[in-house]
C-alpha cells in the first residue's frame, strides 16, 4: 500500500553504543531530556542574572554592576526565560517526551528531523551565550528589542550583541519549526488504535494547539528578526525613521518603528499561550490524577484550549496601547483581550470542579498544581486591569506590569514545570523524587513568589517605573518604597538559592530515589502502561497498545480499582461514552 505508514510491521533498529544512544540520538525520550537539560541550564543563567538585578535595585551599589550591565542582564533574563527556557522545555521537553507515549506511538514521525531540532536549539543557545563575550557585550535593548534604540549607538550591545541575539532567535525558530512539524503530524496521524482525538489526555491537546500557535506565530518574529538584521548590518530602513543623534543625521530614512512592534507582538502574544497552553494541559492531568477524579467538562476544556489559541492571534496590540497607534485599535484589542478571559475562566472553574469532592492527595505534583491555579488566577485578574486601555495607561511601564507578567507567565508555568517533573520523573528514571525535599522546595518557592510579586503590585500603584537602573532622587517615589525593594531582593535571593534543592533532588533521586515501578500514581494514560520503565526504544515492545476509553476513568462504579487504564477493554469495565460529553 502506497499511502499508509506501516508502523506495526516496521522493524525496530535499536541504536547501539553510547554516542548513538545518548548523543546523536533519534529517540524522542532522549531528545526530550536533552532539550530539558539544556533549557534548565540556560534558565539558571537567567536566574543568576535576575538575582544580580535585584541586588542592584534592593541594595544599590552592593555589587559591581553599572547601568550597561544592568540593562544587559534585564534583556538576557527576559529573552532566556521566555524563549530558551519556557518555550523549549514545554514543547521540546514535555512535548517530545509525552506526545508519542500518550498517543501510543513508537516515536515522532520523523525522528531524524526531531534530532536536528535539538541540535539547532543547542546552537541557538550557544550563539546567545556567545554574545556575553563579544565586544560591547550582549544587547541591552530590553527583551522586546524595540528599534530604533536596539540598533542605535548608545544602547548596550547595539553593534554585536543585537546581531547575535537576532541570529540566535532565527536559529531557534528553525529548531522550533522542525520540532513543531513533528509534534503536530504525530498527533494528527500517528495515534494508536482507538486513540481518537477526543480520547487524548489534555496534555497532548495543550501541547498540540500550542505547537500550531508556534508554527504560525514564529514567522512574524523570524521576519522582524531578518528585517532588523538588515537594518543593523547593511543599513536598510525598515524600522528606522529619519533620526538625529549627537547633532548629526543618521543614514536612515522613512522606516516604521511601530511596524516592528506589530510584528513582534503578533508573535509575542501567541507566545504567551505557547507557554500557557501546555501548562494548562499538563496541570489538568496532574489535578485529575492526584484528586482521583475524572476531569470536569473534558470537551469544554478542549474547546477552551482551541478557542484561546484562535483568540490569541487577535489580541496582540494590547501590548501597544501607549505606542501611539490609532486609538480605535485600542478599543478593538481591549474587547478581544477581555473576551479571551471567558475560555480561560472556564478552565479555572473546571479545575475547581474537578477537585470538588475529589480524593485530593497532597503530593508534590498536586501542591504545585494547586499553587498554579491560585497564581494563574491572581495573574489573570491583574490582566483585566491591564487589558483595559484607560486603566492600562497609568499602569503601563510600572512594576504593576512586572508583577502581572511574572505571576501569569513566569511563575505559573514554572510551577507546572516543577509539578510535571515530579510527576513524570519516575517514568523517565524509574525512581521517585524525594518527597521531603520536594515539599520544602515547593513551600519556599510558592510562598517566596508571593512575597516577591505581591509587593510589586503596590510599587506599581506608587508609580515606580520598571527597567530603571536606580530609583534615587525621584520625588514621586516615597523613601519607604526602597525598604520594600530591599525586602523583595532578600526574598528573591532566598528563592533563587533554594532552587539548588530541586537540582540536588534531581541528582540525588537518580541514584538513591525509591524505585517507582511502572505506574506509581495509579494513572490511566498510556505512558504509564509501557512494558518497561523507563520505556525502551520503540516504547511498546512488540505490539502497540489498543485504546478503548478516555484518559480520565477514575472512580468508575463497578470497577475493581479506582482507576481504569485506557487499554482496559469494554468487556471488563463498560465504557460510558457520555462521560466524554459533559
Amino acid at each position: 500500500m502506497a499511502y499508509a505508514d506501516d508502523v506495526e510491521n516496521e522493524e525496530l533498529h535499536e541504536p547501539t553504543g553510547f554516542i548513538w544512544k545518548y548523543v546523536w540520538s533519534q529517540d524522542h525520550k532522549v531528545i526530550a531530556i536533552q532539550y530539558s537539560t539544556t533549557a534548565i541550564l540556560v534558565g539558571l543563567v537567567a536566574l543568576v542574572l535576575s538575582g544580580m538585578m535585584r541586588m542592584q535595585i534592593g541594595f544599590p551599589g552592593s555589587i559591581d554592576m553599572d547601568s550597561t550591565a544592568y540593562y544587559q542582564a534585564m534583556t538576557m533574563h527576559g529573552m532566556i526565560m521566555v524563549i530558551y527556557l519556557l518555550t523549549a522545555i514545554f514543547l521540546g521537553g514535555f512535548g517530545n517526551y509525552l506526545i508519542p507515549l500518550m498517543v501510543g506511538a513508537r516515536d515522532m514521525v520523523f525522528p531524524f528531523v526531531n534530532m536536528l531540532s535539538f541540535w539547532f536549539y543547542l546552537v541557538s543557545v550557544l550563539v546567545l551565550l556567545a554574545s556575553f563575550f563579544v565586544p560591547g557585550g550582549p544587547t541591552g535593548a530590553g527583551w522586546t528589542l524595540y528599534p530604533p534604540q536596539a540598533i542605535t549607538a548608545g544602547t548596550p550591545g547595539s553593534e554585536w550583541g543585537i546581531i547575535l541575539m537576532l541570529v540566535s532567535l532565527i536559529i531557534f525558530i528553525i529548531a522550533a519549526t522542525m520540532g513543531g512539524l513533528n509534534y503536530v503530524t504525530t498527533v494528527l496521524q500517528a495515534r494508536t488504535h482507538g486513540m481518537t482525538m477526543f480520547r487524548m489526555p489534555l496534555t497532548v491537546w495543550g501541547i498540540f494547539v500550542a505547537t500550531i500557535l508556534a508554527l504560525l506565530a514564529f514567522p512574524a518574529l523570524f521576519v522582524s528578526g531578518v528585517m532588523m538584521l538588515l537594518d543593523q548590518t547593511i543599513g536598510t530602513s525598515f524600522f528606522m525613521p529619519d533620526m538625529m543623534q549627537f547633532g548629526s543625521q543618521l543614514d536612515y530614512s522613512g522606516g516604521s518603528p511601530i511596524l516592528f512592534q506589530h510584528l513582534f507582538w503578533f508573535f509575542g502574544h501567541p507566545e504567551v499561550y505557547i507557554v500557557a497552553l501546555p501548562a494548562f494541559g499538563l496541570v489538568s492531568d496532574l489535578i485529575s490524577i492526584h484528586a482521583r477524579r475524572s476531569i470536569f467538562g473534558y470537551r469544554m476544556m478542549v474547546w477552551a484550549i482551541v478557542s484561546i489559541g484562535v483568540l490569541s492571534f487577535v489580541v496582540w496590540a494590547h501590548h501597544m496601547y501607549v505606542s501611539g497607534m490609532n486609538p480605535y485599535f485600542g478599543f478593538f484589542f481591549a474587547t478581544t483581550t477581555l473576551v479571551i478571559a471567558v475560555p480561560t475562566a472556564l478552565k479555572v472553574y473546571n479545575w475547581l470542579l474537578t477537585l470538588w469532592r475529589g480524593n485530593i492527595h497532597l503530593t508534590v505534583p498536586m501542591l504545585y498544581s494547586l499553587a498554579f491555579i491560585v497564581t494563574f488566577l491572581v495573574g489573570g485578574l491583574t490582566g483585566l486591569f491591564l487589558g483595559n486601555v484607560v486603566v492600562d495607561i497609568p499602569l503601563s511601564d510600572t512594576y504593576f506590569v512586572v508583577a502581572h507578567f511574572h505571576m501569569v507567565m513566569g511563575v505559573a508555568p514554572i510551577l507546572v514545570v516543577f509539578g510535571s517533573i515530579y510527576h513524570w520523573y519516575p517514568k523517565m528514571t524509574g525512581r521517585m523524587l524525594h518527597d521531603g525535599i520536594g515539599k520544602l522546595h515547593f513551600w519556599i518557592t510558592f510562598l517566596g513568589t508571593y512575597l516577591i510579586y505581591f509587593p510589586m503590585h503596590y510599587l506599581g500603584f506608587l508609580g515606580m517605573p520598571r527597567r530603571y537602573y536606580a530609583y534615587e532622587d525621584y520625588p514621586f517615589i516615597p523613601e519607604s518604597a526602597q525598604s520594600l525593594n530591599a525586602f523583595i531582593t532578600v526574598v528573591a535571593i532566598v528563592v533563587g538559592i533554594s532552587q539548588l534543592l530541586f537540582l540536588f533532588n534531581l541528582a540525588y533521586s537518580y541514584f538513591k530515589g525509591a524505585p517507582s515501578g511502572g505506574n506509581p500514581w495509579r494513572a490511566t494514560s498510556l505512558e504509564w502502561l509501557t512494558p518497561e520503565t523507563p520505556p525502551k526504544h520503540g516504547n511498546w515492545g512488540t505490539s502497540l497498545p489498543v485504546v478503548h476509553r478516555w484518559a480520565y476513568d477514575y472512580g468508575v462504579p463497578g470497577a475493581e480499582l479506582d482507576y481504569v487504564p485506557q487499554t482496559t477493554s469494554p468487556e471488563e469495565v463498560p465504557v460510558h461514552e457520555s462521560d466524554h460529553d459533559e
Binding site: Y3, G194, V223
Partner: protein, 223 residues
C-alpha cells in the same frame, strides 16, 4: 477491533466528529505529505509577514515610491516594453508548475523515467527563473539600486526588493536542489516499493513557491 464512534450527525458537529473519531485525522494521507502541508502553512505566514512589512514601509516612507513598471522595463530590439522580464519569469515559473503536475501524474502511473525527466525539466525551468532573477538583480545594481537607497525614490524600494525576491529566489533554489535529488532517486528506482508519493510531496513545495511568486508579482511589481 476498536469501538470508535461512527459519525451520525451532520453539519459542523458531524465534520468535527468525523475529524476526531479515527486513528488518522486525514485518512490515507502519509506522514510526509501531512508534514509538508503544515510546513507550507507556516511558510505562508513568513511570506505574508514579508509582504505586509513591505506594504507597511511603502506607506510610511515620505519619499515617493519608484514606478515599478518603468524600473523593470527592458528595451528589446529597440522596443521599450514595461515589465517584460518579469512577465517572462512568471511565464517560466507557471510553465514549470505544469511540468511538475505532469511528473506527479506519471509517478502515480509508475512511469518512473517520464516522471524523473519531467521533474528535471521542472528543475531546469527553476534554474532559468533564478538566472533571470540574477540578471534582474545585476541590472538594478548597475543602475544604482542598493538595499539602503536608490536614485529612483524611496530607499525601502531596494530594501524590500532585495529582501523579498531574495528570500523567494532562495526558496526556488532549494526547490531546484530538492527536485534534482528526488528525480535522481526516482530514476534509480528507489521508490519502486514505497510508491511515488514523494513526487507529489516535492510538487506541493514547488507549486507553493510558484503561488508565492504570483502574490509577489501582484503586490510588488504590479502595484
Amino acid at each position: 477491533m476498536d469501538n470508535t464512534t461512527q459519525p451520525t450527525t451532520s453539519g459542523m458537529t458531524g465534520l468535527i466528529e468525523d475529524w476526531v473519531s479515527d486513528k488518522d485525522a486525514f485518512k490515507n494521507v502519509s506522514w510526509g505529505k501531512t508534514m509538508m502541508w503544515i510546513f507550507l502553512l507556516s511558510d505562508t505566514f513568513i511570506f505574508s509577514c514579508f509582504l505586509v512589512g513591505y506594504m507597511s514601509v511603502r506607506m510610511t516612507t515620505d519619499v515617493p515610491w519608484p514606478n515599478a513598471s518603468e524600473v523593470f522595463a527592458l528595451t528589446i530590439a529597440g522596443e521599450h516594453i514595461p515589465l517584460i522580464l518579469i512577465a517572462i519569469m512568471t511565464f517560466v515559473l507557471i510553465t514549470s508548475s505544469g511540468t511538475m503536475a505532469m511528473a506527479v501524474n506519471c509517478g502515480y502511473r509508475r512511469q518512473r523515467k517520464q516522471a524523473a525527466v519531467l521533474m528535471l525539466v521542472t528543475a531546469v525551468f527553476g534554474v532559468c527563473f533564478v538566472g533571470m532573477q540574477a540578471f534582474e538583480w545585476t541590472k538594478l545594481i548597475e543602475e544604482g539600486v542598493r538595499p539602503w537607497g536608490n536614485p529612483m525614490g524611496a530607499p525601502q524600494f531596494g530594501a524590500a526588493f532585495f529582501m523579498i525576491t531574495g528570500f523567494h529566489g532562495f526558496h526556488v533554489s532549494i526547490g531546484v536542489i530538492y527536485l534534482t535529488v528526488v528525480a535522481l532517486k526516482v530514476l534509480r528506482g528507489d521508490y519502486e516499493e514505497r510508491g511515488y508519493e514523494i513526487v507529489e510531496i516535492t510538487g506541493l513545495y514547488w507549486h507553493f513557491v510558484d503561488l508565492v511568486w504570483v502574490f509577489i508579482f501582484a503586490f510588488f511589481y504590479l502595484w
